[in-house]
């Protein structure tokens, strides 16, 4: 896929320094430690990794919600590091964020209408009347009703609150939306509804979507490209299909091997790597993954591998990238019996009959919500 770059990170670092103790030096956590990324306009880019790998910090750096220790982020070719506070604030109308926890990210004292209208008010978009029309419109788009604007967040379920969060992020007509684990706090059936809404709105508004997630199935379903992070660094970046078809970094293999697969008698999730994530305060020397890597040799303990190009946009930071034959999830592991497949068809057909909303968002791109600006 060839996209014009919309967001670019160069040498991005963020080190958190603890308060200096009475004796000795303060500890430094290298949460993000040298990340280069180019995200193309209109693509869905996923960042995956386990807790503590720095994925949320990276997401916040990309929209300058926190300041980098080193490195730059450019939005549409312009460095956002030099922007004045006011200019940054204006820019935020175009770069929006969806948070993980729909219970703590909405102000409980504001009505849903006021919450969704807030970004428009902040950015001075539209008249009062135009704003309330916009709120009603976006509420409908996320599957809620305009009259919900008068209610408070506590009156809604987790899934509905996440829809409110999405409405709030989209109402100002952003170009880039970053979701930090946008569906991971939700139940399976609600998660599916929210994924569909996100994808519909992405397609309808032509959004660039950056999804931070730890769930590989969600990533496989939603994203065009993936970056795998481990201890503050990107260890593999690839078009999504290629990553699942031919993983090139042993850590990616370990992640794929560890997912339980919803098919009885498929391969058992395999303990590919033992042990815990090393302490990010003192990351291992050389390749950061060497302490848990089954393929590590002496070189890996001393020399840090850099991202190497494997062709077709696939890069991995491993000395053996491209030489190792790594395991993947085989299509046979996900097979369905004919009986099950038939019954799923019956279910989808019945759902299609009873859910006309399914075809409501057609492929034609609509005007963006900020057209009334």
């Amino acid at each position: 896929m060839s996209h014009t770059p919309i967001l670019q990170a160069r040498g991005l670092k963020r080190h958190f320094v603890t308060k200096a103790p009475f004796f000795g030096d303060p500890t430094v956590v290298r949460a993000v430690d040298g990340v280069d990324l180019t995200i193309g306009e209109g693509e869905t880019f996923a960042i995956v990794g386990e807790s503590g790998c720095g994925k949320s910090t990276l997401a916040r750096l990309l929209v300058r919600l926190i300041e980098p220790s080193e490195g730059q982020v450019a939005y549409q070719g312009n460095d956002i590091g030099d922007l004045s506070e006011q200019a940054l604030r204006d820019l935020r109308a175009e770069l929006q964020f969806i948070f993980q926890d729909p219970f703590s990210s909405l102000n409980p004292r504001m009505t849903v209408g006021a919450l969704i209208e807030e970004p428009l008010r902040t950015h001075g978009i539209g008249t009062l009347e135009a704003r309330s029309t916009a709120v009603a419109r976006i509420l409908t788009r996320v599957g809620l009703r305009p009259e919900h604007a008068d209610r408070y967040p506590h009156e809604f379920s987790g899934g509905q609150r996440q829809r409110i969060g999405i409405a709030r992020a989209l109402v100002s007509g952003p170009k880039v939306v970053i979701g930090d684990e946008p569906v991971s706090a939700l139940d399976v059936s609600i998660q599916a509804q929210v994924i569909n809404i996100l994808e519909d709105l992405r397609d309808a508004f032509g959004l660039t979507l950056i999804v931070i997630a730890h769930d590989l199935a969600v990533i496989r379903h939603m994203s065009d490209r993936v970056a795998v992070m481990y201890l503050g660094k990107i260890v593999e970046v690839s078009p999504t299909d290629a990553l699942f078809r031919s993983p090139a970094h042993p850590y990616t293999e370990a992640l794929l091997e560890a997912i339980p697969i919803p098919t009885v008698g498929a391969r058992k999730a395999h303990v590919a790597i033992e042990g815990d994530l090393p302490n990010p305060i003192a990351p291992p020397s050389g390749c950061r993954f060497h302490t848990r890597c089954p393929y590590a040799i002496d070189t890996c303990r001393t020399e840090e591998p850099v991202l190497r190009d494997l062709g077709d946009g696939h890069q991995a930071a491993c000395h053996f990238a491209g030489d190792l034959t790594l395991k993947r999830i085989k299509p046979g592991d996900l097979r369905r019996t004919p009986a099950a497949a038939r019954r799923f068809d019956v279910y989808s057909a019945a759902r299609a009959r009873t859910d006309p909303a399914k075809t409501q968002h057609s492929s034609s791109r609509e005007e963006k919500p900020h057209a009334y600006r």
Binding site: I259, T263, D276, F344
Partner: protein, 335 residues
């Protein structure tokens, strides 16, 4: 050992109520569990899976919750009629439970070794030194590295995966016949989850402990379960062997749940969802509780369907099962 051993746990028509809500919050839950078997109870938040487990352990917050019907026979004794003192001895001894969040279920002020030893002293009457040795042995069995050192550490000094291992060590220290695990890996990262699942599988195989595993993750179910109960809004929608549930899913809720999951196979098609959300526990609908979200709903669904055996060991609570026949009939009627 040639005569079939009696089941470890038989639950029949368990009913739980909350306050004076008109409909029970858990209604008619039944299952049988044999030694060495793993039963997975799967469902979404509010389906009553955790409440069922807490009721069995005698840990219901009562009031407002109360066990209002049914029985649970554990090794021949009725858990709900057991005197308090007996229940205290059974719980943590022959029957143990592990929880989702190990940090909040471990005592932060007690060393790991002391927490395990305490339960061993209490239940097996071992002396101080013997209990300590047992704690060490258990930490080694759950493959905690440098177990000797960990005995003297506090919960906050352990990582999430280590804490869950310590919880498992504590639960298994008295060789229970039944272990109930409530979402034991939900709070863990996927590579750590694989380690814990692997550990639980091999420990239950070694010891013959029957395992009830409560989860919302169908992947975990496929991996661990011999038997599966799919719960929705306090009732068992469908139950059977893992093979039956995954290869021949019958209940519309089971189908909806499975098709809601994004595929690892690379399909980018729109997910086929379940519309709406779960009913409120204090206002459960009469009749089939899934009716409001079901694409196959009809007039007869105003009456709650009883569990019906569709093949040996596979039961479904739905008037429409098997669905393909029901759909053909409807189409014939319309035509």
């Amino acid at each position: 050992m040639n005569t079939p051993a009696p089941p470890v746990l038989v639950v029949e028509d368990l009913e739980l109520r909350i306050g004076n809500a008109p409909e029970p919050i858990v209604d008619g839950v039944s299952f049988t569990l044999n030694a060495g078997e793993t039963l997975c109870i799967v469902g979404e938040s509010g389906c009553g899976k955790s409440l069922t487990a807490l009721a069995l352990m005698g840990l219901l917050a009562s009031p407002p919750l109360q066990q209002s019907g049914g029985r649970a026979e554990f090794q021949g004794e009725d858990l709900f009629k057991m005197p308090r003192e007996t229940l205290r001895r059974v719980r943590g001894g022959r029957m143990a439970m592990i929880f989702q969040e190990p940090m909040s279920s471990l005592n932060p002020a007690l060393k790991i070794g002391e927490q395990i030893a305490e339960s061993v002293r209490e239940h097996q009457g071992l002396g101080f030194e013997a209990a300590r040795l047992r704690a060490l042995e258990m930490l080694e069995r759950v493959r905690i590295p440098a177990a000797e050192k960990r005995l003297n550490e506090y919960p906050h000094q352990l990582s999430g995966g280590m804490r869950q291992r310590a919880m498992i060590a504590m639960a298994l220290a008295n060789d229970p016949s039944l272990l109930i695990a409530d979402e034991p890996t939900t709070a863990l990262d996927v590579t750590i989850q694989a380690q814990i699942l692997d550990l639980m599988r091999s420990l239950s195989q070694e010891s013959g402990t029957a395992l009830i595993m409560i989860t919302h993750d169908l992947g975990v179910v496929a991996e661990m379960a011999d038997k599966v109960a799919v719960m929705y809004a306090g009732r068992v929608a469908e139950a059977g062997s893992a093979q039956q549930i995954f290869d021949d899913p019958q209940h519309p809720y089971t189908l909806g749940l499975m098709s809601s999951m994004p595929s690892l196979g690379g399909s980018r098609e729109r997910l086929v969802t379940i519309p709406g959300s779960v009913p409120s526990p204090i206002d459960m609908p009469r009749g089939c509780r899934f009716a409001a979200r079901c694409p196959f709903v009809g007039d007869d669904c105003a009456e709650a369907p009883a569990a019906r055996e569709i093949s040996s060991g596979h039961s479904v609570s739905c008037w429409r099962a098997p669905l393909e026949d029901a759909v053909t009939e409807t189409e014939a009627r319309i035509a």
